[in-house]
């Protein structure tokens, strides 16, 4: 009991001790930044796994750990789409998850964002052409932000979320 407290006080804050992210392959669009305006100080995320291999989930999990600590930016991960501002969809949309994805999208209160996380969600990745896959996320619901990678590193996801929180989009784009 007290050992835990002593250990965490001795360890100190470890947040931020991770290698810097590479520049995202696809810049965040100006429309997405505009759409994310109400969520600059507080963003709630719901993870929707539509048939992913769980690699993207593990990277999302890492976001909540002490090193990446996504909560310091006011980002929460919620248990219900009703509490959510942004749906993070991972994996190609499989036949069985197509309806669940659409339901989750419908139950998310407006205004809302959809983030396609990982190559599978963007273009089906290695599962392209499979009989169990009905296509990328975009075919079913409108996607605002794409984060490429197989899987994307937590630092890259953080960088994109940081981009969404920017006060004004970079003028060179």
């Amino acid at each position: 009991m007290f050992r835990i407290i002593k250990k965490s006080l001795a360890t100190g804050v470890v947040t931020g001790q991770y290698p810097a992210a590479k520049a995202p392959s696809e810049p965040v669009s100006r429309e997405a930044i505009e759409k994310a305006k109400p969520f600059r100080r507080s963003l709630t995320i719901r993870e929707v796994d539509t048939g992913s291999c769980n690699a993207c989930e593990m990277e999302m999990n890492a976001l909540a750990n002490p090193v990446y600590d996504v909560e310091r930016f006011g980002v929460h991960i919620a248990a219900s789409p009703r509490h959510t501002d942004a749906l993070v969809v991972t994996g190609p949309v499989t036949v069985n998850m197509e309806r669940a994805l659409k339901d989750a999208y419908k139950q998310t209160p407006d205004p809302k964002l959809v983030i396609a996380l990982g190559d599978c969600a963007i273009n089906c990745g290695v599962f392209k052409g499979s009989y169990a896959v009905t296509g990328p996320v975009e075919r079913h619901i409108p996607v605002d932000v794409r984060i490429a990678g197989c899987p994307p590193r937590p630092a890259e996801i953080l960088a994109v979320l940081g981009e969404l929180r920017k006060d004004r989009p970079n003028s060179d784009r």
């Binding site: 407290i5 109400p38 507080s42 248990a79 219900s80 501002d85 209160p109 407006d110």
Partner: protein, 318 residues
């Protein structure tokens, strides 16, 4: 003039409860983040969360009735009303005449009742599960809470909160019956953890529906309804903390409406409540959540402590 002052005091207390509740939630989260070696969100994050939720368009299930939409308002109003009945920074509450400590307990129970109904209303499995668990916890916590309050009321000779607080504040730290007070304090603290859904009983940060109690009843809510529910939960926590702070350690509270006394009373109150929030944050980091079937044992212990407080009061009276 007198009526004006009283009115201003009511408004100040109302605004203070509403404004301070998210801050207390933020303090607990920050302490927990630090003890998890994280930097954590800022202390003002809960305000940003509430502001965002109020701007969102709520979604309603087609299977819900009027209870679903009315419940957030009833829960919020009953919790705030309970908060107005108790002394916060001034030992003489203007709304003192409206009800004593028993009215306060049952105003909070009214909110819990409607929260339970709201969890059942949408007919989802998790909501019903959360409601049944909340009902168990609430029914077990209530006798312990009433008994510990009774022990305090007996030592003060009144069930009126303002009288209790005013008397012990004037004593300047001298407690009339220390063993009874300590036992009642311990019982009250356990009840606070149970009623406000803190760690040994419920985990407010959980994402796993199977372990939820309070959160499971809120799964169906969105937008401003969710904001009201979360704000009400924060105010309920603040009401319990205020009750502990002012009944068991009322030193520094303003005993008259002199400006200087009011300012120091407010400052001392905020410091005391924030300190108690830090204690709760540390407790949440130290303990694991209890298995649901062991919660009755914890609340049973609270009940026994409260009963002992009563026994001590009668045996040690001399």
């Amino acid at each position: 003039m007198y009526a004006m002052v009283q009115l201003v005091l009511i408004v100040v207390q109302f605004v203070m409860l509403l404004a301070l509740a998210p801050f207390i939630v933020g303090v607990i989260r920050k302490v927990k983040a630090r003890l998890q070696c994280r930097r954590g969100a800022g202390l003002l994050q809960p305000y940003a969360d509430l502001a965002k939720l109020f701007r969102k368009q709520p979604v309603r299930s087609s299977t819900t009735s009027w209870i679903f939409t009315a419940a957030p308002y009833i829960v919020f109003a009953s919790t705030v009303a309970a908060g107005l009945l108790m002394p916060v920074f001034l030992s003489h509450t203007p709304l003192n005449f409206a009800g004593n400590i028993i009215a306060l307990v049952y105003l909070l129970a009214l909110g819990t009742f409607f929260l339970i109904l709201a969890g059942l209303d949408a007919g989802s499995a998790f909501g019903g599960m959360g409601s049944s668990r909340e009902a168990i916890v609430a029914t077990l916590a209530e006798p312990a809470m009433m008994l510990s309050i009774l022990a305090i009321a007996l030592t003060a000779g009144s069930t009126n909160l303002s009288t209790i607080v005013h008397q012990s504040a004037l004593l300047e730290g001298v407690v009339l019956a220390p063993p009874a007070h300590l036992m009642a304090l311990a019982a009250m603290f356990i009840v606070t953890l149970a009623e406000t859904g803190r760690v040994p009983v419920d985990n407010p940060a959980t994402h796993l529906e199977l372990t939820m109690i309070h959160e499971a009843m809120l799964l169906e809510y969105s937008g401003r309804y969710l904001a009201l529910m979360e704000w009400a939960a924060g105010i309920k926590l603040l009401v319990f903390l205020t009750l502990i702070v002012n009944v068991f350690a009322p030193w520094g509270i303003a005993t008259s409406v002199a400006p200087l006394a009011l300012v120091t009373g407010t400052a001392v109150y905020v410091v005391k409540v924030a300190g108690l929030a830090v204690v709760i944050g540390v407790i949440e980091s130290m303990f694991a959540k209890l298995r649901l079937f062991r919660v009755p044992e914890l609340l049973g212990a609270a009940f026994i402590l409260a009963l002992l407080a009563l026994v001590f009061f009668y045996t040690l009276r001399g």
